[in-house]
Subunit: 278 residues, 2 copies
């Protein structure tokens, strides 16, 4: 698979047609990541939407953002980033501030917010709110709260979001990132919607996963998420039929199972309708 | 696979150990089905719990119930039962009254209550409440509302249950039977819980399905349902670990995929823990 720099370069040069701007998230764990990203962007000035550009003219141009990944527990931080949470936040400060200077959006993920492979359900929601506050103060544009292990439940999702609000964090600055490992992703999405969250991460075909959860399914699939949100009367702007096709195609290319029940049901229903009409 | 009579005979003669009484649901589409069931039960008097038996001494003995399947739409009734809804209800009257006379519990299913393969989302919740009322008046002990196609959404589940209440049907007389075809089973369960429903059908390993939905997954898995209810602080009385083992075993025996994400995650986590400790 290509690395982040190659993918970013591809997006900037290939002029991929899209009805709405695509945002590419460039993983930048440290200051060097920022330097790599800004160097590529400088080579392709004008090919993307600069966040500092007040004219906002970006038809057909992609958006770029730098992403950092903090962790909600010390054990996960140590295993994943080889440092404690405080040290990781120091590093991310350079990344976020570098991104802002370059006019690039900065998105900060916090992993294992509702369950940790090492510390179990024992994740402190106040600690999550504290980390989120630090990242926002550094200049992060958005915090994505990652239920990396899929151990989040309705009540604990509610409690986490209550702590975020109590810490003064606005719903507009929060995205929820659910994994469907235990089938709770849409239930937790419902709870988040009720609390006013409107940004949700998902993955076509349910691709991805968590190396700490063998045999487990990955991110909640985009197809399931779109179906659910539309069923509630919300407008996602996404064509579910086309998304189901993409899910089937990309999981095939990657030789992975299509983990979206909605994707499979949509394709199955289409097939059945075709058989009936012929 | 054995037919209903053989399975019923097996349960009555083999004295299957169980911490709580198992209820076997005997599908009786017409008066002949009742005659078959009562003949078997007469041969094994005392091996099961008779509903009319006021002493209620049934330790280790299974419960028996007769099941009828009505449909919420005329098209599904015609295709599935070869008759219109009114005619099917006439037949079920004999079954339910026969069951009551024999001291057997009667459970009435209504299929396609939230979506029909032939009439789409266009299922009238008032019609469902009307059919349910008729079945309860005949003497049915419980109505299981079947979302056979998995097309149920949160809002339409809510609306259906509102209609049931408006028709004077008590929550205690209702069970919800969700399929996870579009991943909405637990969301719809949450909505039903909020409205006071406490009985939910499920299937270990997500076995089953709907012949009208090719490629689609089946009933919501027991493992997912138990995990969800327990996560809300409810006590299901079911050992999730043991249920995950059963799901893995029976799907293997039937050479079907284990369709329970919770089952797979529980087994995966156990494996990971075993690898760490050795």
């Amino acid at each position: 698979m290509d690395n982040s720099s190659q993918i970013m370069e591809h997006i900037l040069t290939k002029n991929i047609p899209s009805p709405s701007p695509i945002t590419y998230s460039f993983l930048a764990p440290n200051a060097r990541g920022v330097a790599d990203a800004t160097a590529i962007l400088q080579r392709h000035q004008g090919a993307y939407v600069n966040q500092n550009d007040t004219s906002k003219g970006g038809d057909g141009k992609p958006m770029m953002e730098l992403a950092v990944f903090a962790a909600a527990t010390e054990s996960f931080s140590q295993k994943n980033l080889n440092c404690d949470i405080a040290t990781s936040l120091e590093r991310f400060k350079d990344v976020i501030q570098g991104a802002k200077q370059a006019g690039i959006r900065a998105r900060a993920y916090i992993s294992v917010v509702l369950g940790c492979p090492f510390e179990g359900y024992n994740v402190n929601p106040h600690k999550v709110a504290e980390i989120a506050t630090s990242l926002l103060e550094m200049g992060a544009d958005e915090i994505s709260l990652g239920d990396t292990t899929g151990m989040g439940t309705a009540l604990r999702t509610q409690e986490l979001l209550r702590c975020m609000t109590a810490a003064g964090i606005q719903n507009e600055d929060i995205a929820m990132h659910f994994h469907d490992t235990y089938g709770q992703a849409l239930v937790n999405t419902a709870v988040s919607l009720e609390r006013g969250i409107r940004t949700f991460d998902s993955s076509v075909g349910g691709l991805g996963g968590c190396p700490y959860s063998p045999g487990a399914t990955g991110n909640v699939s985009t197809e399931n998420m779109v179906y659910f949100l539309e069923s509630l009367g919300m407008n996602t702007g996404i064509d579910l039929d086309a998304m189901a096709d993409i899910g089937q195609w990309i999981t095939g290319e990657l030789e992975k199972p299509n983990d979206s029940v909605v994707g499979k049901a949509v394709l199955g229903a289409r097939k059945a309708a075709a058989n009936t009409s012929t």
